[in-house]
Amino acid sequence: MSEFVLELRGITKTFPGVKALDNVHFQLKPGEIHALMGENGAGKSTFIKVITGVHQPDEGEMYLNGQKVELRNPMEAKNMGIAAIYQHVTCFPDLNVTENIFMGHEKLQQGTRRILWKEMHTEANKLLKELGANFDAKAMMGTLSVAEQQIVEIAKALSTNAKIIIMDEPTAALTRNESEELYRITEKLRDSGTSVIFISHRFEDMYRLASKVTVFRDSQYIGSWGVHDISNEDLIVAMVGREIKQLFPKTEAVIGEEVLSVVNLGRTGFFAGVSFKLRKGEILGLTGLVGAGRSEVCQALFGIEPADKGKILIKGQETKITSPLQAMKQGIGYLPEDRQQQGLILSWGIDKNITLPSLDRLSSKGWLNKKKEEEIASSLSKKVSVKTPSIYNLVSSLSGGNQQKVAVAKLLTSDLDIIILDEPTKGVDVGAKSAIYEIISDLACQGYGVIMVSSEMPEVLSMSDRILVMREGRITAEIDGKLATQEAILEAAMNNKEINVIGESREAAGL
């Protein structure tokens, strides 16, 4: 009998063009809370999908309680007691909580196969009570908050008698109090013998809950340690791979006059009282937890979802921005967070993607000018160093990093003063990240005012001249880039004055 409830050895998974997992190992004991850490694109999500049966590994073995298993689909994983709770809650908003909990394993009467509603409601309420929820099982899923929906997801996992529960960024969209609740529930699960694997970017989650941490980097298994057996610095190096200094080739730009001023900006239900200034050549880091409202502020500046309160002043002039086209005319450009859904048209060539925002400038009175397009697309593509044999190649054939470069090139076609980058290195491999930081640095040197939204602490700390921290829709801190520390940022992002374990000053980390 193995001492491990779950063990994976030598797991490799390849998708067309990319090796998502490369000879990865993992061990999980019963009643253990195990943190899985690594940068975006390190392979964590794919790994979870292998454990939950969504993907089948090309090589390697998986053992449950010492027995070798092969999971061919998510249902098999569920039947084996493995349950996952994802960042984007997948539920049925028009159905009630009980149905969501029991979907796929409803209680049916013997013979007639009639649904036993009463029994299901009772059991659902029991689970909810155990988890400390204060809503009834008959509530409609769509009316619950994200935190409440997450509780339902946990109840769902419990209802299948899951012995292994996986949480993917569970506290990402939660408030302080809601996170505390989640910690309490997770500890209770551990105490009852359930094992938990969770993926999180927040060191605080890890220190608070986990007893062991495993790090992945570039699809490879780097190592596993007891949470208190490894220093923060070593952990960051394990995750990032190089000395942080080398990663951020930032050249100081000349900072000029004010180019953007935002006064008391607000959008009902999303953010309020947001005020800040941005100057030419400046890189303003905008950070905070997922759900703090950063993207919403950017999208208000770009006219996607306009603000309903407050003022925006561009170069001293007050303007109203109600559409992306208007924003672009005012000199604001935006690199969206999700480049595949929002930033690029994957089935188009690089050239057509790059020229899309500025078709008017490339055309004569509405007629397309293929020659001019080709010229501009080529020159911009070279400028951001997109690795491709031809600018006519489809964007879908490019790597994540190159796709991001194309998305950045799009911004350079228009006459802009302000560039907003939303998670510019998300899902980009380490090599390309460096290139993108160079581009960002270069943009600042050219005189653009840059707002960089990021959740990655090293990035924020190294690239920003100033840092704004948001929490629950408001700005909670404005910190000078040279004086910022991880603790200061985390404190403003989470308002937990007990954090002094986390992070070191930038000097100590070698910056």
Binding site: C91, F92, G104, R113, R114, I115, F135, A139, G269
Partner: protein, 335 residues
């Protein structure tokens, strides 16, 4: 419950209850107004006519509701109705001693086959419901025409036993109403107390989640169109029996009336939700409108325009109400 959820639930539930009470109130009010204008409204004959029409409409509405819940639409039901009605009528014309039950079964069978083919085209063939049902509508109409050789089947070609399906009664209740009630009971049980029934709602509420939960998405989609077909087949036999005639253009455009009944009855046109109780009220209201308008001297040529406006106003109002509820929830977020 969290504050936001409480408020949102009570607002949504309030509106849902408001809608049902409102519909009921409107029905009563409308009936009174029509009766005042034309006293022959509340006569036995007229009521019987109206209720039997509504019975057929409400049978079709169940099927349409299931289709709409999954995010689809079915424009071919009038044609399926005509086809099965015609085939049944021709069959009893050729075999006058055929038991009427078998005629009904035949109609249902024709409907199930038609709906089944349609279901395959949509689920496996990847054709959008609007296009598949638009095409099938013309195909079934054409088939009806071909099967009948372009001729009508009229009352004297139908045996009394067949016509008796619609005129006869069982346990004192008119057959059509009886059949409608039985159909409702069966489907009420199906969609509320069986796994497959709930899976239809799941697929409509979140197709991606449904797939992950192990629900056979394609099979459910196929099923709703097959059920719709079967119900259309049933309605076809009842219709042809009631009006004692089967023509190539029987029930032409009726699918729109059925959609109107569903929309009025609170079925969300974007999919995911819909209640039987709403369907009954919606069908009754449309049934009253169709019956009452001629009685109060509204020209029949206005009916089309009125029906279309009802659908448009109902879906627009639904959208506006939902916006209000969502905005309300946003405003209560303490930011």
């Amino acid at each position: 419950m969290s504050e936001i959820a409480t408020k949102k639930v009570s607002l949504s539930a309030g509106i849902a209850r408001f809608r049902e009470v409102g519909l009921l109130g409107f029905i009563i009010l409308l009936s009174i107004l029509v009766q005042l204008r034309n006293p022959s409204f509340l006569t036995f004959e007229n009521l019987n006519d109206m209720i039997t029409n509504t019975a057929i409409l409400s049978i079709l509405a169940i099927g349409m509701m299931l289709v709409i819940i999954t995010g689809g639409i079915d424009l071919s039901i009038g044609a399926t109705l005509a086809l099965s009605g015609m085939i049944a009528a021709l069959t009893v014309g050729a075999y006058p001693n055929l038991n009427p039950f078998l005629a009904i079964l035949l109609g249902i069978l024709v409907g199930i086959v038609s709906g089944g083919i349609l279901g395959v085209i949509i689920s496996k063939g990847g054709v959008l419901p609007i296009i598949a049902t638009l095409g099938m509508m013309y195909i079934f109409r054409g088939l009806t025409f071909m099967v009948s050789g372009g001729k009508w089947v009229s009352a004297h070609q139908m045996p009394a036993s067949f016509k008796g399906i619609a005129t006869g009664s069982f346990l004192g209740i008119n057959n059509l109403i009886f059949i409608a009630v039985i159909t409702y009971l069966i489907f009420f049980y199906f969609i509320n107390h069986t796994r497959t029934g709930r899976q239809i709602y799941a697929v409509g509420s979140n197709p991606d989640s449904a797939k992950i939960s192990g629900i056979n998405h394609d099979r459910i989609i196929w099923l709703v169109y097959t059920l719709m077909g079967g119900l259309s087949g049933l309605a076809g036999v009842l219709w042809v029996s009631k009006f004692a005639s089967a023509q190539g253009d029987t029930a032409s455009g009726y699918e729109l009336t059925v959609i109107a009944a569903c929309v009025l009855g609170g079925v969300n046109i974007a999919g995911g939700s819909g209640k039987i109780s709403g369907l009954i009220l919606g069908s009754i209201l449309i049934g009253i409108l169709n019956n009452a308008l001629p009685l109060i001297n509204v020209s029949p040529f206005w009916q089309m325009g009125i029906q279309g406006s009802i659908i448009l106003i109902a879906v627009v109002l639904n959208a506006l109400v939902k916006r209000g509820v969502d905005l309300n929830a946003l405003m209560r977020r303490k930011i």
